[in-house]
């Protein structure tokens, strides 16, 4: 029996690509296909679940298909370019290097290298699977001849119900009596959390002095995370802006349920998992139109063409001051979430990779 094996630079927990990879692996195995996750670098939290990619060389079987979760630079890409097996690129978009330029020289060089690896691998790929039409366009421009769009797998459908305990803990921690903004996403420069903080500052000065913001995300770029905290403190909002990371699914659901609005001002999104999670929880969404955001929102949120702080603050204030608009956005969001049918994403993904045939060897 042939295998469909998954390759990813590192396998993280509570990470969109990590959850997507694990979901795909589990689904393949459940459908009777051999599947192993191979990584370049081990993550201590998942090391028991993975093997080093070079070990595949002694484990390969005729008919295998190799699926590469592509978002960053990795030696795996160069290695895959030399393999005889069909390669499927499951592409999650490469964050453009200029976002990291002022923050982390090493990551910047890595992203430049990743773009080179994409140019190397895309023309050789048997299939490119993209999270969105926006990302599929990137794949085609890189030379991939065959692409298909499958939403990110691993998003709980239906959404996780938060426990009463998690909700109560959040209520007890809440500062201020104003509206609660929520931003979800890694603390990385392209997520532009600093724009959200600036907009909150304007909102507190001009519309809602008690407004607060919770930013849920891992500090993947430490210098950017430190700058965010300092920025909030310098704007007099050390108490009003809360940074949270390492949350469980239950706690994340509680954040979505207890907030008044999701504000996402990313400069680059290949899909935007927090958008669909927020819609699934009935949380109104205000988002900047970048990358795949408009495609994923599908008209179910407020899409901003500009994100200067005053404009963002006034749009949030406009929505939250109108209970009918809030209700309309809640309904539109839950309908959009249902329409995305994310529960099928896993099956679509499995169907797509299983459809890639390995060339028949004359020896077999």
């Amino acid at each position: 029996m042939r295998g469909v094996h998954l390759f990813v630079p590192m396998l993280h927990r509570h990470d969109a690509v990590g959850e997507h990879t694990r979901t795909l692996r589990d689904g393949l195995i459940a459908s009777g296909v051999r599947s192993q996750i191979y990584t370049e670098l081990p993550d201590p939290a998942t090391v028991d679940d993975t093997r080093h990619y070079l070990e595949y060389e002694s484990e390969s079987e005729p008919g295998d298909v190799l699926v590469y979760q592509f978002a960053t630079e990795s030696a795996i890409a160069q290695w895959l370019a030399t393999r005889p097996e069909p390669v499927v690129i499951n592409y999650h978009s490469i964050t453009p290097p200029e976002y990291f330029g002022p923050w982390n020289n090493g990551i910047t060089r890595g992203q430049v290298a990743a773009l080179g690896e994409l140019a190397l691998l895309a023309p050789r790929a048997a299939l490119g699977i993209a999270d969105s039409a926006f990302v599929a366009g990137e794949l085609r421009r890189a030379g991939c001849g065959s692409t298909t769009v499958v939403p990110v797998a691993g998003v709980p459908d239906p959404p996780v119900e938060p426990s009463p305990g998690a909700m109560e803990r959040l209520r007890a921690r809440r500062h201020g009596d104003g509206q609660r903004w929520l931003s979800v996403g890694r603390l990385a420069p392209n997520k532009a959390h600093h724009h959200t903080i600036a907009a909150l500052f304007v909102a507190r000065q001009e519309q809602d002095p008690g407004a607060g913001l919770t930013v849920v995300g891992s500090p993947t770029e430490p210098s950017y995370a430190a700058a965010l905290r300092r920025y909030a403190a310098e704007l007099g909002m050390a108490e009003a802006v809360e940074f949270v990371s390492g949350v469980t699914d239950d706690e994340l659901a509680a954040h979505y349920r207890s907030a008044d609005v999701l504000v996402m001002l990313s400069d680059h999104e290949g899909f935007g998992v927090p958008l669909v999670e927020a819609m699934g929880h009935g949380l109104p969404v205000v988002a900047f139109d970048a990358g795949a955001v408009s495609e994923v929102l599908g008209g179910a949120g407020v899409l901003l063409a500009r994100k200067n702080p005053r404009h963002v603050a006034s749009e949030v204030a406009r929505i939250l001051a109108d209970p009918a608009e809030v209700e309309r956005l809640r309904r539109a969001g839950t309908e959009r979430f249902a329409g995305l049918d994310l529960g099928k994403a896993e099956n679509l993904l499995i169907e797509a990779v299983r459809g890639v045939s390995a060339p028949v060897s004359s020896a077999t």
């Binding site: 923050w103 600036a198 000065q205 905290r229 403190a233 310098e234 007099g236 500009r306 603050a313």
Partner: protein, 348 residues
């Protein structure tokens, strides 16, 4: 990559709704974050250099120097707001090009030393040096507190409202005065009303935003006898950082308030040196220092204990100003309030 703040806003030619007008306060708000980018800072450069020692990139010449192989316009696309840091990148690129052949030789030599005693010893020494620096930094700031986390009430500037303009009266009227920390803007406003350009600098967002509100309220109002009001720049920035970025002998003078009370000795001395450096000969540096007992009474116990610095006596400021090269020192006592003024003339 488009800049949604700058590119999408219409030119300021006609009245527009508040949330669409291109206002300098929003630009300043976002520029304040840009200044927090580490690019070009010592720590950023050290971390990158240390990583390249540990993981030499042998596949390309980037292992020898960091900027080779990156797109030429990357720094412009990265939009670092700090002129100095962009210059560092430009200089580094030029040096890298000039040293290309030598850098390749150095990289080859480094490769040959990998796993050798010399490389291990060098790497060990580098790590111990980093550990000693970390220990020194931790002694200076063990809690990693940001000054803004322990707010200190800004001083009441009202006692000097009427006298402020006279401190710079006989200096070239075309030169600006820097007021940092401008706080509620009392002194900055007074100097501005006298017909002089002012740069109001304050690290606290709320003070800056209040200043913008005041400036907007004044916009369009005519002032008797002043046909073209002088510019007024409002900057969300650390005073020391702003002074360090200013040119030599470029302003009529500097008024230092608030920052002189909350900074430690090294920072106080640096503030004076920078203020004198940027002031023209014949200009004035004015230190407004809070009375010590009033300071103690105004703070909570934790703020009093954990604030990085405390006010110096006016006599001490006079000594520091004299040692920094200023002269014609005058200690002025306030008619009301707790803020003493030490006025010094810059002489060269």
């Amino acid at each position: 990559m488009t800049n949604p703040v700058n590119d999408a806003d219409p030119p300021d030619t006609a009245p527009v709704p508040d949330d669409t007008a291109p206002v300098s306060d929003e630009g300043e708000l976002l520029a304040a974050f840009d200044r927090l980018r580490p690019q070009g800072s010592l720590r950023w450069a050290f971390d990158d250099a240390a990583r390249r020692v540990d993981q030499p990139d042998l596949a390309s010449s980037a292992g020898a120097y960091p900027w080779k192989g990156l797109p030429d316009d990357l720094w412009e696309r990265g939009r670092s707001a700090r002129v100095g840091e962009r210059f560092v990148g430009d200089v580094a690129r030029v040096m890298a090009d000039l040293l290309a052949a030598d850098a390749r030789s150095a990289a080859d030599a480094a490769v040959s030393a990998v796993n050798g005693d010399r490389f291990v010893a060098t790497w060990d020494a580098l790590q111990y040096l980093a550990a000693r620096v970390d220990a020194l930094e931790a002694r200076i700031d063990p809690l990693g507190l940001e000054a803004a986390e322990w707010p200190v009430p800004p001083p009441d500037q009202s006692a000097w409202r009427d006298a402020a303009a006279s401190w710079f009266g006989d200096v070239d009227s075309g030169l600006a005065v820097i007021v940092g920390e401008s706080g509620d803007g009392t002194i900055a406003d007074a100097i501005h009303r006298s017909g002089r350009e002012v740069r109001s600098v304050d690290p606290r967002g709320t003070s800056m935003w209040h200043a913008f509100g005041t400036a907007h309220a004044e916009r369009g109002t005519t002032r008797p006898g002043v046909e073209d009001p002088p510019p007024r720049r409002i900057l969300l920035d650390d005073v020391g950082h702003h002074l360090r970025s200013a040119d030599d002998r470029s302003v009529a003078g500097v008024v230092l308030i608030g920052c002189v009370d909350t900074s430690d000795l090294a920072e106080k001395v640096d503030l004076l040196r920078q203020a004198i450096r940027v002031t023209v000969s014949g200009g004035s540096v004015v230190v407004l220092t809070t009375d010590r007992s009033a300071w103690d009474a105004s703070l909570t116990n934790p703020a009093r204990d954990l604030a990085r610095g405390r006010p110096f006596h006016p006599e001490t400021w006079s000594l520091l100003l004299r040692r920094s090269g200023a002269g014609d020192l005058r200690w002025l006592r306030p008619a009301s309030g707790d803020l003493h003024a030490v006025v010094a003339r810059v002489e060269r």
